[in-house]
Subunit: 348 residues, 4 copies
């Protein structure tokens, strides 16, 4: 089969590799009919995640048809149309039993395209398939479902639910890239009074409006703190969601919050941030971090199925699997190309 193979920092190729096959009896093999690229894949290519080794097939998002199953698989059958989650769950460790598969101690967690071969390929082996794939509701497009492999549950669980967004809240989202837009989409489900999108790029702020932000702030030229305060009687936002992953955006998010508010960090950070405890120690704030656990995936699938979540709106570009290298280029240059999520599909 063909796959997108990591070849050390800065290098990758769409090339012939051995076929994906069943190894453990709880595995399935899925034919990848749609997959996508995540910002994390770009981090890997920069060499930021040294645990990803040369020769690894990248990718942790995919959708489609099961072609083989191990003997211990109970809930998935050959021919099923499934979503492959970015999170694999062993189902038996203390974290999986508690709904926190992102912290799996039993060989799961985020492993696809990270510690084992991933989804940017014609086929992918998915371990612990009963708990790591989800049946796709009828009538929903592959590309809508594909947004539930990672980006929508991440925005929803780590941003919206950890941040405890409530009806009537003022929610500030720092960063309007794909993950920030996913957080905005998820926040809308709770009817906040205002969603304030903050970014440096006007094109992303324009997108944020179509996803549900009613206030946008370009913080290259506008003062986010002043705008948030003017909307909140000087108190600050109820919830601030960090969706970038660098120290200044975390520190901005932390500065926007009202006493008693929540700061939900989604961003993948590579460096420490400064926590201004001299300002925050007596303000009753809560800060959360998290990797997605995917416990919300069935709920989000049902909301996509009932038309309440328009997930496909995130997709801006389409490519054939064989065109993977060009897709990476377009996605990596989002500032110029306006790319949010790019979808790669297998030729009919």
């Amino acid at each position: 089969m063909k796959a997108l193979v990591y070849q050390g920092p800065g290098n990758k190729a769409w090339e012939e590799v051995p076929d994906a096959v069943i190894i453990d009896d709880t595995d399935v093999v899925v034919r990848v009919e749609a997959t996508t690229i995540c910002g994390t894949d770009l981090h890997i290519l920069k060499g930021d995640l040294p645990q990803v080794t040369d020769g690894r097939i990248l990718g942790h998002e995919a959708v489609r048809t099961v072609t083989a199953i191990g003997q211990g698989v109970r809930r998935v059958a050959v021919g099923d149309r499934v979503l492959v989650s970015c999170i694999t769950s062993c189902g038996t460790c203390r974290f999986c039993r508690d709904g926190h598969a992102g912290q799996c101690l039993g060989g799961g967690g985020w492993i696809l395209g990270h510690l084992i071969d991933g989804t940017q390929a014609e086929f992918v082996r998915v371990p612990f398939a009963d708990l790591s794939t989800y049946p796709v509701p009828a009538g929903v497009s592959d590309e809508a479902v594909l947004m539930l492999s990672d980006i929508l549950p991440t925005g929803y669980e780590v941003g919206v639910l950890n941040g405890t967004v409530r009806p009537g809240d003022v929610v500030a989202v720092v960063g309007a890239g794909p993950i920030g837009l996913a957080a905005i989409t998820g926040a809308k489900l709770f009817s906040p009074a205002h969603i304030i999108a903050i970014d440096l790029a006007d094109s992303r702020l324009t997108a944020a409006k179509t996803f549900g932000a009613d206030v946008t702030v370009n913080n290259s030229r506008e003062d986010a703190l002043e705008i948030v305060r003017s909307l909140t009687g000087g108190l600050g936002a109820d919830v601030a969601i960090e969706a970038v992953g660098v120290p200044p955006t975390f520190e901005l998010a932390a500065s926007l919050i009202r006493p008693g508010g929540h700061i939900a960090n989604i961003g993948v950070h590579g460096a420490p941030a400064t926590l201004h405890l001299e300002d925050l120690w007596n303000r009753n704030i809560t800060i959360t971090t998290g990797l997605v656990d995917a416990y919300s995936t069935p709920t989000l699938l049902s909301l996509v199925g009932s038309g309440q979540l328009d997930a496909a709106k995130m997709v801006t570009h389409h490519f054939d699997l064989s065109d993977f290298e060009r897709a990476y280029e377009v996605f990596a240059n989002a500032a110029d190309t306006g790319a949010l999520k790019v979808v790669l599909t297998a030729a009919g």
Copy 2:
């Protein structure tokens, strides 16, 4: 009357001042029959809180007899024996209505000995008295009750409840001064499996054992992280409570926590700390900060009344009010004197 008056950084005196009197119709005046000194008072004396102005009477902890009441006071009568809380509640702002009087927007919060004259005096005026004083249960000593003005509700609300201590948890408390001991006392109410006290002073660790810690770590010579990991299968503590207020202790607390764990900051910080988001972003941790709200004061009073909380154990030294300056000396030199809480009482 006599009172302990702040006279700018480094200076204070027990001196004659005008009598405390009713100003607003929801005020009461309380004769101070027992009061104490808080670590925060030492911060004020160092000049760390510039909002405290020259001439301010210090102190935010007191117990005893109501001598005058305003016309609008409903729940307190002259002659009542009351606890004066460090937190004053207006009762009508959004935070007070929600149980968060520490964030009061209506003229309350922590004001005694800070923005208005305090309790280190023969008499003190207490605003919003219906909501800022508590009747003392019969049969409980003044000095036991006095620990509920600040230290016990602070350790309980900001450390134990914010940290969500649960039966069977491993709880690490960084700092075994009075506030750390209060957190240990409160944590015991939830039957954790282990309470690990961490401090640089052996004398405080010895005290921690009598308050309920079952493991102690002197981190001048022992490796707290290694000890916590050895008790938790390598995962880390369920809850880490920061009870000092300097960057290294916060950073230590943050390093001790398991995936999904809680870091509850109680310490009063004067400088930013480093938050290692590069390690924490994907660990599903929760960090909380807070000023006490005193919503737990009635519960804690009832537990002192029923003998389940031995609050008086915190008191190591006794003085007459007139001996206030010596009491400050003993309290400020806790490392030498072994002082935890010092109690000052009015001469019979």
Copy 3:
């Protein structure tokens, strides 16, 4: 002034009474420019609430202008445009301090038009006015705001929040009268997958669709249980809200619920119901009851102000205050008149 006076079971009259005046220093007097009738008023008129005595002015919902204030009132001024809540809060008892003013032990709770004179009058005295009235946002009509005296917070707190409605849930609402419609309106804020309205009257089910129900069941001829099961893979609803107040509707609600689901009772009951513990003991269900506390009133006011809640849609009929007796007739015969909420306004 004129007022609607209860004269024992079956009797009432719009007649001259002494003017409303300040009695306690935390009272205000409000000129009633809009008021309405509640189903509970009909119960009183039937004699179901014997604590309501002859001569009592009825009504617990009103909006408008403050004409006098007591000396202890801080947050309300003469001339303010305010919402009068059905719940009066003393602000100092344990329940009020905890946000549960509906259970007030200090002279508040539901007292207007019940234990003291109410709002169906030209003027009304409102005790504890700082905590029992709310400033009306600019640009919002009196009649929209009037729905927040009772019906919307009741549906939201006692139905939606007690029932813990979540995105993706299937919510069954038994009873599509005004309170059921209020619950549907509130449930929509949480983006459930389905809201199923159940009633015996087609006209109410038609209304339910305009308020946000996507499935309606006329249980005079359709099988609610079967329909709920068909929408939930046989499991039952996540949340069932009882909005009628008779045993059969409670028992229906209890039968519709999935294992682990919530039954939120809003209905005012006059007789015991049968609880089928032989079916429910092992199904992990939660049943809640409650009187509104009005803690959500500020949030709902802000959502009305921002246009996210269309409260005025509930109003079907308008009358002049002097026409109160006819308004009662129309409201009492809702089956024929199609009345949901009737609004009475003072002549300009």
Copy 4:
């Protein structure tokens, strides 16, 4: 092997049966070195659970050595000393993934000694063993651990956690049989102010005191409601736990509760109860029911291991497995024999 076989209502025998063997690849076989009898077993023998068929081996509680494992078992090895939980978890259905294995839709839940052969035998087959057995901590006796198969997690999860017992609470436990005593034991972990045990038998009330109740009420001659009110300023208990399973005890529990309080039903009911909604509709109460899910089993095991839970105290009588019929007699006549839990052990 030998086993206790149900032979239709009223009949049972300790007799030779085919050996327990692995059927599914996630099964283990455990040699039963200690087992016990549950009140539910008596219900089965009365014929109350018709789904239990003739020839079924009874029992859902056991401890000891794994003698065989299926090919798909990952976390359990031959020779391991394990606790067999009364709850079997498939691990992949929506309820198991959410921590609610008691509601398992995938072939688990309470099946041992109910829908498949149970633990009152020399050997037992345990399905889904990775999720349905727990390693026993070193240094803990078999009979202490055995109390964690069912009775302690049931009292803790369904009584204490569902009832949300908090420090300082007044907790009323209706029924001081084994399950009521388990609830008392669990409630103690949260330091309530008072635990009030209510029963008709003085012997059980005496036992209740040794388990942590500080107030006892024999409601054959004392007025529980009056006693609860006298301890709570007339308001009622914070939490009432029903631990019997008949209508009058449920109705008593419901009558004891304060506004805003919780009624946690543990009892196995065979008949409907009367729910006095005419009294409760406006009191903000919460009623919960539940089958144990066993999510707390690891926590309770660790508390037994650390000596904080003295589970073995529940055991009053010991028998050899071959003496099973006599053990049933003693347990069934608890009123005369004073039996709480009886333990049956395999001869060395």
